[in-house]
């Protein structure tokens, strides 16, 4: 909603436009009362007008004539609008409407050359009055304020281009004597003789302020520009010239600037990077950096929603979206559902260059909120973000801790599979957590079972008969060799069922596989492995043994698939685990059988290998003969069939 000097309340694409009569003048920016959806404006200093969207003629709407001149009306969400009079008095709108003709006191004293700050606390009404330190020949242009820990911080922009910081405590009672505020220099924007005119100031974050104004240094033509300054390093972050002039007013909302530029309202998206010296250096010369981009000169008010200013219809950079996302994720009141919806949109058309950084940024925001707000856990969003595959542990170090806290095994599995840099301590924490969860509670979780399907049948097995040994005439290797099993055919030895069944359920197996698959360094892993309890060690060992035996059944000694553990991983973990818990395992009675069978199996394998070594020469000879037999494209042979 825009108020202009030429007696017109309008917006750019007229959703509604109201004007006062020819001889009247609007004297105060119109505001919207969010609670009631009404608009409030003042014309001719004293006449208050209140109307709604459906009202057409401003002349016919509610009017109230007040006894004193109004300076501004402030509309604050969730409270009644406040009316500020030129004399410095403040009234809530409803109090004023209850008695329009009430007496309005004068608060401001007329002391020439002095500047005062009045702080009015509403409900209960307390008025503080402070005197500003004397400053010769410069005057304050604009100020802005915020409260933190009951301390009011006032930033004041002076016409000499300096921003001063003033601190006021709101706790103390109104003292008798006059207080003089001492100011500290926060930022010095201009050098030497230039004079700042018609400026306004906005706080962006703890290190950044934005200044809109006109720098007038006599030989040059005055240029209006919007600039973002870093107060920490006293540098100009970025600036943008506004050649068509502005009204000198600047609004900030949701990481966007709103300002009038010529005849149009301009929306500018900004982003304040965390201050670091690196980003601060070297920006002074290059004033046209890309830190700030004009999103669209014209706001499509039709699609302008409360949160999502960056609507899909208006042309915009993706960064704008990112920003709005970030805003959303930080907003304490946005529900998980909203975040999910926003994220979906963001991911659906995100193909930008700094995708990875942005995802990292979003996830950090979400995780931070998870940490502060115990009920907040946007599982689906987190999964989606991880699946973008651009993340690593170091980009969001707290994510896995949060997931561990919530025992979100699916998320942990994803992290373990995708992060190349999970620290050993976290890997071990995951392992511990996985081993202690019961198989029953894992049933129905979303764990990806791809890594176990090659050795555990996960299909519901009431229908599955034991796979009967079937005839594959031309293809079974046994039959390939001529008549090799003629006589034994009837007593063909059946493959003995592996006496071992998998000691853990498929979900747990998949989770443990993710652990086996993760990268580690032995030195760092060993101390953490010692944290496992004896029961957990036994269970894990039994699973590893099961894998080892399953692996060894196959000629290739490896399971198919990208995520299945390899025999080397299995062996390494087994050794590590035994190293870490050797003394415990040796003492435990229930581990005895396990160790014994492991020992037996390994010994059998070693023996088998040594036997193979012995006959290596013969095998090579056989192969040589076979190759020899396999000569040429043509031969004449003798064959007798009896």
């Amino acid at each position: 909603m825009l108020t202009e000097q030429n007696r017109k309340v309008s917006d750019q694409k007229p959703l509604g436009c109201w004007s006062v009569k020819q001889d009247q003048t609007i004297t105060c920016p119109a505001v919207c009362n969010f609670e009631t959806g009404e608009y409030i404006a003042v014309h001719d200093d004293k006449v208050l007008r209140i109307w709604k969207d459906e009202d057409v003629n401003l002349d016919k709407v509610f009017r109230a004539t007040l006894t004193a001149d109004v300076y501004r009306i402030h509309s604050v969400p969730h409270t009644e609008p406040l009316v500020l009079f030129k004399g410095g008095a403040v009234r809530t709108l409803d109090a004023l409407l209850a008695a329009p003709q009430q007496e309005i006191e004068n608060v401001i004293s007329d002391e020439n050359g002095n500047y005062f700050v009045y702080v009015q606390k509403v409900n209960p009404n307390i008025l503080h009055k402070y005197k500003l330190e004397q400053e010769e020949s410069f005057h304050p242009l604009s100020f802005t304020a915020y409260t933190k820990n009951k301390i009011l911080t006032l930033l004041c922009l002076y016409s000499n281009g300096c921003v001063y910081k003033l601190l006021m405590s709101l706790q103390q009672r109104v003292p008798e004597e006059e207080q003089i505020l001492s100011k500290s220099l926060l930022l010095k924007m201009v050098v030497s003789d230039t004079v700042l005119k018609g400026a306004s100031l906005a706080i962006l974050d703890k290190d950044h302020v934005a200044v809109l104004g006109c720098l007038d240094s006599p030989p040059n033509i005055a240029k209006e520009c919007l600039s973002i300054w870093n107060t920490k390093f006293q540098t100009l972050q970025t600036s943008k010239e506004l050649p068509q002039g502005t009204s000198g007013q600047l609004w900030c909302y949701g990481e966007k600037f709103f300002l009038t530029h010529g005849k149009v309202l301009t929306v500018i998206v900004y982003k304040c990077e965390t201050s670091s010296l690196a980003t601060a250096v070297g920006k002074l010369k290059d004033t046209q950096t890309s830190g700030m981009r004009t999103v669209s000169s014209y706001v499509n008010w039709n699609t302008l929603q409360e949160e999502d200013l960056a609507s899909p219809h208006a042309q915009q950079s993706v960064a704008a979206k990112t920003e709005s996302k970030r805003t959303v994720s930080f907003r304490d009141d946005s529900s998980q559902h909203d975040i999910e919806e926003e994220l979906r949109q963001f991911l659906s058309n995100a193909q930008m260059s700094d995708f990875q950084a942005t995802v990292g940024y979003i996830i950090t925001g979400l995780v931070n909120r998870c940490k502060t707000e115990p009920t907040f856990y946007p599982r689906h969003c987190l999964v989606q973000l991880i699946q973008t595959q651009g993340l690593s542990y170091s980009l969001c170090p707290d994510l896995m801790a949060v997931a561990l806290d919530k025992t979100d095994v699916h998320l942990l599995q994803l992290c373990l599979q995708q992060f190349p840099d999970v620290p050993e301590a976290v890997t071990c924490a995951c392992l511990k957590s996985f081993l202690s969860i019961s198989d029953d509670s894992l049933q129905g979780t979303n764990v990806n079972l791809d890594s176990v399907i090659s050795f555990i049948d996960i299909t519901p097995n009431d229908q599955v008969e034991k796979q009967t040994e079937t005839v594959q005439n031309g293809f079974s290797s046994a039959l390939m060799e001529e008549d090799s099993c003629d006589i034994q055919l009837t007593q063909k030895p059946h493959v003995v069922d592996t006496e071992e069944l998998c000691p853990v359920g498929p979900q747990k197996a998949a989770l443990l596989n993710a652990i086996l698959h993760s990268a580690y360094s032995e030195t760092f892993l060993l101390p953490h492995l010692k944290d496992l309890s004896a029961q957990q060690v036994i269970l894990f060992l039994r699973y590893l043994q099961f894998l080892y035996i399953k692996c060894s059944e196959k000629v290739s000694t490896d399971f198919p698939g990208m995520l299945s553990p390899t025999i080397n991983q299995i062996m390494d973990w087994m050794c590590l685990l035994l190293d870490a818990h050797f003394t415990v395992v040796v003492m435990l009675p229930e581990a005895k059988g396990l160790l014994f069978s492991l020992h037996k199996f390994v010994r059998a394998q070693v023996r088998f290998c040594s036997e193979l070594n012995k006959i290596e020469g013969s095998l090579q000879e056989l192969q040589r003969i076979k190759h020899q037999k396999d000569f040429g494209l043509y031969s004449i042979e003798m064959l007798e069939l009896v």
């Binding site: 973008t388 996960i458 031309g474 004449i636 042979e637 064959l639 007798e640």
Partner: protein
Amino acid sequence: MGEFQVHRVRFFAYMPAGIRCVAHSARSARLALARTDGALEVYNFAANYFQEKGIPGHETRSTEALCWAAGDRLFGAGLGGDISEYDLEKLRVKYSLDGFGGPIWSMAADPSGTQLAVGCEDGSVKLFQVLPDKIQFERSLDRQKGRVMSLSWHPSGTRIAVGSIDLLRVFDVKSGHAIQRILVDRRLQGLYSCECVVWSVAFLSDGTIVSSDSVGKVQFWDSEKGTLLETHPVSSSAALCLAVSEEEDSIVVGTSEGAVYQFQLLPVKWGSAESKWVRTKPFQHHTHDVRAVAHSATALISGGLDAQLVIRPLMEKMHGKGYDAALRKFTFPHRRLVSCAKKAGLLLFQFPQHLELWRLGATSSAGKDGDILPVSRAPEHLLQLKSKGPEHICCSCISLCGSWIAYSTASRLHLHRVHVENGSVSVKRVPKVPKLLCSAHQLLCSADSTSLFVASDQGAVHVLKLLEPGGCGPLQTLRPNSGSPEAVYLLAASADGDWLAAAGGDWEVNVYSLRHFKPHCTVPAYHCAVTALAIHPVTNNLVITHSDQQVFEFSIPDREYTTWSRKVQQHGLHRGWLERDTPITHITFNPNQPAHILLHDTHMFCILDKSLPLPDDATPLMNQTALKQLSEKARRGHAHAFKICKKYQPLLFVDLLEEGSLVVVERPLMDIKTQLPPPVQQKKFGT
């Protein structure tokens, strides 16, 4: 008793063409399969997966999509931009129609089988109406940008899901408008510079769309909201094709790494109503791109560029151990590509566009079982006959004396007179070969090389007199008494020149008397496809093998099954024999041993000795090694009728030459593999 010199031939450089697409018809239990050279094959699942029909390829035809519609009619479309209907009775393309949309990448019939939707290069989806004897352009859906790579009808027939480049769309069939546009993510592992081709889509009845793409993802989408439901990365290269079971509880996906994955809709928890798609089983039966998959009620079917068709039964759907319960791989055709001039010791090899004539080598030594004899004369490549034109050769033969070579393409019969004298070969084309009105499906020369038999449409067999020194007489035609619509695909002539047997697509075997030039009799009908025919040179008994591995012997003079054949039926064949997985493709006889029948399939050859007792299931079928260890006397007690040799395989051809030596033509799989192009590039560390 049976000692042979064996000419072991491996110089037939046969290369099967890669499989491009398949279409399974649950209704008729048949699988249609198109190869990269444009050839079409139809496998009959009810007849032990016998490849019962084949339409030869064509240089310019490349079939990208096949579908069954309107009952058992088969349609194909390809990069030529044409939509064709195949005539499965006459084994040729019935007609072709230009789609006017550029190359066609995909085609699907609507659930009722009355409409075809084709997806074209120019981005249009065109609907064709299936009329009783043609198809007719109906309308186009709204044209969009980007070629249409894949499409699938919703089971209700009101929507079509279309896969394109980087995009999925849903069309409303009635209005023709695109009602949903879904962006498919390019990214799987960080790379998103290359486009994402949606190779295959499937539209499920609950509105879920399943897509597989060049990035290697299988994704499930909600077609109403246009949102992604699930992503399953299955491959680091492309997921090329997918197929859904009829119950929509299982999906099969083929990838360019040769792996096939099954997805199943399984309950989230035991007994829970909520279910979820889970990747359950990986299979690696192929070495190259799996370009085509199909899902029958009991099996996953996949075909790859390594030319293998793999039928992988789903064990949970199997009841007991049957023929269907085993994994089947098909690499070689179920028909004969080699013919042999027994008297001259020549072999004729049939390739898609040429023929090769070879003379076998010779040896002057003798030896005992297992010996490899020194070759005194090497085999010789005598002749290469190139066929002209874009059509591929569909059948060929050489006369027993080796002086006539005949071959046929879809439109023309060619006849050549060959003279082989002292190492010099001359070949002369026989002029004025009568033009056939329809294509030949099989060729055979009579034993005395005076006639050529041409198997043709509607059960007819044409007979052409071969005249010296290089001419031919007019065409005469034999027709069966029962008017059969199906083409004849197998022929057998008797050695005395009196009889001719012909088997057609309706599995009827007709015997003609050549002396009287009229039908003699019809062999009693049997419910399974005929895979090979031969007439015994001494007894004139017709031996017939079927795809269910049954063997019959029918006496032509007596017009009835022989006593031996009845005995076999009563006794039953050995279980091991019935469970073989490839059909008998050739039968021959040993004139010196009238009781012997020589048969072969891809994995064995067998001498069936009618004088010996039939084995029962308790005795091993393959007993050669064991018998050889026994004394002469003891052997007699253990010998049975089936003398099987598995030394040579895979076998494309076995025949007995006139002088008594055996010729076997092998094509080792390794030789085929080495000639395939390298499989998908796989990134190796450090390269």
